[in-house]
């Protein structure tokens, strides 16, 4: 008799899983995104998929939802092996998905977005579809405005429309991909309430996240993925955040140790009542005033979407401000183009590194592009000089690439090193670092952070804009919190606890919000 196993005995009690995925493998070129992944979802449970960026969580769920096709493996829905070749198949099987990038059409109404692709017949009657949308929402107690244009809705409201879409299509399984990434703590609470109500009504939920505390708050079971394979599946009651973190990362994270506080110099970068509009024409920065001293890192903490992007762009010279001033060592750089920023000694690390290098040009060309005039000999490009410059920077900054490689073939980490090399080799007096470690693996992240600290020690004034709160806390000497386009507080690092910051980031003054505990 084979030995009985606690998992199997319990499995007898839930013979039919809502979803079973067995041996799923998916490759993108040389990268193995999912490596023989097994995953199952019990009826009525909330099951978390936990892992770092790039662990394979989203890929797995996109396979379940029919956006990708697995190279190998099987999917079983309610006990029936199923082929899911497209979202339509998934929807028919009762699977719904809410992604980070909302699949909403901004120029259509809530009702139109809800019924899109699911409306029978030829006619489109606005009154009728609005009534149907409202009916679906009321069934689960969700609040929506069916006749509103999606482009006028807030992020949290749009997310509810996304959920409504799945409800309208009679989803029994709801996949949520990093749903709180774009929400303020208050909206997160609303979301968790919504999910609780959905579960009460019989919905099974898959919750993709990389945030340990959220996962521990609302989920029953947690499957941890790392580098494309399953590390383990545990029940919430049987594990701790520390254990989960270890499973996620696989080794001790070596934190960046700072040398304690240094004497600060004079203010080098000053923003005075800076205002700017977002692409939709709404005011995204409102009278932002702050200053950064030489030899310090000022970190901007905030939930994504509160104006950080606009702040980064104004300071990169790619967005014109609508009011206020940007001063670097008393030189007014307001509304100037990127070239002026660079000549004023401002080094800029872009939010999206792919917008900072021209992918089809070579590494050497990218390293020389911003300062081409230094590489010109009698009107022509001095290719020897460009090459030598590239070789020097490649060795100094440990870039794993050759000067003639096309930039787009580089990994995220190496690409960021190219950008750092280009920026930091000029010894800038100010560094604007926007999301410098977004999407990088652990090794590259450590490298970037140590470079920033080195620059700080050299006496540069660094403005760090990052959505990674842990990063901001680890690196900054002072932390400013941005909320809805305003700076709501600036704290020295030693006074800034995650709890205090969380409150400021949500604009709340009450102490009761415990999301960040």
């Amino acid at each position: 008799m084979p030995p009985s196993n606690p998992e199997t005995s319990e499995a007898c009690a839930h013979i039919m899983y809502a979803i079973e995925m067995k041996g799923i493998t998916k490759r993108f070129g040389p990268v193995i995104a999912n490596n023989k992944v097994d995953f199952n979802l019990e009826q009525g449970e909330a099951h978390a998929l936990l892992g770092e960026n790039g662990a394979g969580k989203t890929t797995l769920m996109r396979i379940l939802y029919g956006l990708y096709t697995a190279d190998a493996g099987q999917i079983i829905v309610n006990g029936q092996p199923s082929r899911i070749d497209s979202p339509k198949d998934a929807i028919r099987l009762g699977i719904g998905m809410v992604t980070q990038h909302f699949t909403l059409v901004p120029t259509l109404t809530v009702a139109e977005n809800t019924v899109l692709g699911y409306l029978p017949g030829f006619r489109l009657d606005p009154k009728r579809i609005q009534a149907e949308a409202r009916r679906a929402a009321d069934r689960f107690g969700i609040e929506v405005q069916p006749d509103a244009l999606v482009r006028h809705l807030s992020v949290g409201e749009r997310q509810r429309v996304e959920i409504l879409k799945s409800l309208y299509r009679n989803a029994k399984v709801l996949i949520l991909d990093e749903p709180t990434a774009v929400l303020v703590p208050q909206e997160v609470d609303v979301l968790f309430e919504t999910l609780a109500r959905l579960r009460q009504a019989g919905m099974s939920i898959i919750f993709i996240s990389h945030k340990l505390y959220e996962v521990m708050t609302i989920c029953d079971r947690i499957t941890v993925l790392r580098d494309g394979h399953v590390v383990g599946t545990v029940k919430k009651t049987g594990t701790t955040q520390t254990e989960l973190a270890a499973m996620m990362v696989g080794r001790e994270t070596f934190g960046v140790t700072r040398q304690g506080e240094r004497p600060q110099g004079l203010p080098v970068l000053r923003l005075e009542k800076l205002s700017a509009k977002d692409p939709k024409g709404r005011l995204a920065l409102k009278d932002v005033s702050l200053s950064v001293n030489a030899g310090e890192i000022l970190g901007i903490a905030g939930v994504s979407g509160n104006g950080q992007a606009e702040l980064s762009q104004v300071l990169a010279g790619t967005l014109k401000s609508t009011g206020g001033q940007v001063l670097v060592a008393s030189e007014n750089l307001t509304c100037r183009d990127p070239g002026c920023f660079t000549s004023a000694g401002v080094g800029r690390i872009p939010e999206d590194r792919h917008e900072g290098v021209v992918g089809e040009l070579t590494v050497a060309e990218n390293l020389a592009l911003e300062h081409l005039d230094e590489f010109v000999d009698r009107g022509l490009l001095d290719s020897q000089k460009i090459l030598r410059n590239a070789e020097k920077l490649i060795s100094e900054y440990q870039i794993k690439a050759s000067p003639t490689d096309r930039a787009r073939t580089l990994s995220g980490g190496n690409l960021q090193k190219v950008i750092l090399a280009r920026v930091l080799s000029r010894n800038p007096q100010v560094v604007i670092a926007s999301q410098p470690t977004r999407g990088l693996d652990v090794g590259a992240t450590e490298y970037v952070r140590s470079q920033l600290l080195e620059q700080r020690d050299r006496g540069a004034a660094i403005l760090l804009v990052s959505e990674d709160l842990d990063e901001v806390v680890a690196l900054s000497d002072r932390i400013a919190v941005i909320y809805e386009g305003r700076i709501v507080g600036i704290l020295p690092a030693r006074e800034a606890t995650v709890a205090k910051l969380g409150l400021m980031m949500s604009g709340a003054n009450e102490v009761e919000h415990a999301v960040y505990n």
């Binding site: 956006l67 990708y68 497209s86 979202p87 339509k88 929807i91 998905m97 992604t99 990038h101 909302f102 699949t103 909403l104 059409v105 901004p106 120029t107 259509l108 139109e112 977005n113 019924v115 899109l116 692709g117 699911y118 409306l119 017949g121 030829f122 006619r123 489109l124 009657d125 879409k165």
Partner: protein, 303 residues
Amino acid sequence: MDTFLIGLMAATLRVATPLIFGTLGELFCERAGILNLGIEGTLLFGSFVGFAAAGASGSLWIGVLAALVAGSLCGLLMGLFTVKLGVNQHVSGLGITLLLTGLSYFAFRLIYGQQAIPPSIKPFDTFPLFGHLPVLGAIFDQYTLTYLSFLLVPIVWWVVYRSNFGLHMRAVGENPEAADAAGVNVYNTRYIALAIGGGLMAVGGAFLSLAQLGAFTFGIINGRGWVCIALIIFGNWEAARVLWGALLFGLVFALQLRLQSTGLQLPYEVFLALPYLVTIAVLALAGRNTSVPSAILKPYKRE
């Protein structure tokens, strides 16, 4: 009412007709996310096919129908390149215009040879909608196709905003990823939009050879296709505003014809050029238009 003004308004409606067909056709394409530069060639091809089919069958309406079908096929050809193959929309559209132009001229020469007097056909008759009323009757003495073109405007509005297909089309033109995720077949929607658009464009061309001229000449389109492209921007991708734009252009064009006869001292080429210059000015003023369908010019390929 002054006969000059009556004649002017009647001419405006006439001149605007092919523009309305063409622009509404392009509207379908662009709302679905495809900039169809094949419009100039499709107008010409429709003009030729209409003429040839009418001549061969003896029925003008068969000519119109043949143009409609031919135009839809042209739209699908555009779909082959822009939807299926994901090729640059500017170049493929131009290529189709060049191809259809060459084909039309080739086929015309092949069928009719080179004659001293170009072949002609008895064109459509006009039809007074308001009978013998002094003003309205004179202005609204138009071809059936003209009346049809006006009727098309509310029909197109209805299709775009009150039909399921229109909903799909709007979604696909703004955010094809969202439409795809919702289970809409992005490719098919675009094909259908292109086919409808191509058919409408070709009918616009057929109007010129079967109603206005009663003949097919090599310069019959003379850049009207490009004007339609501009009119869409002018009309903010809305059927009703497109109508006003087409009427405005028709007015300037008709004015140009009439002003010549009043002996005004300006050379007639100025008047010919005027509508086009006005269009350029309009484009400059419209500038960065936020109503442009967001997915336009970007081919959609599902990962």
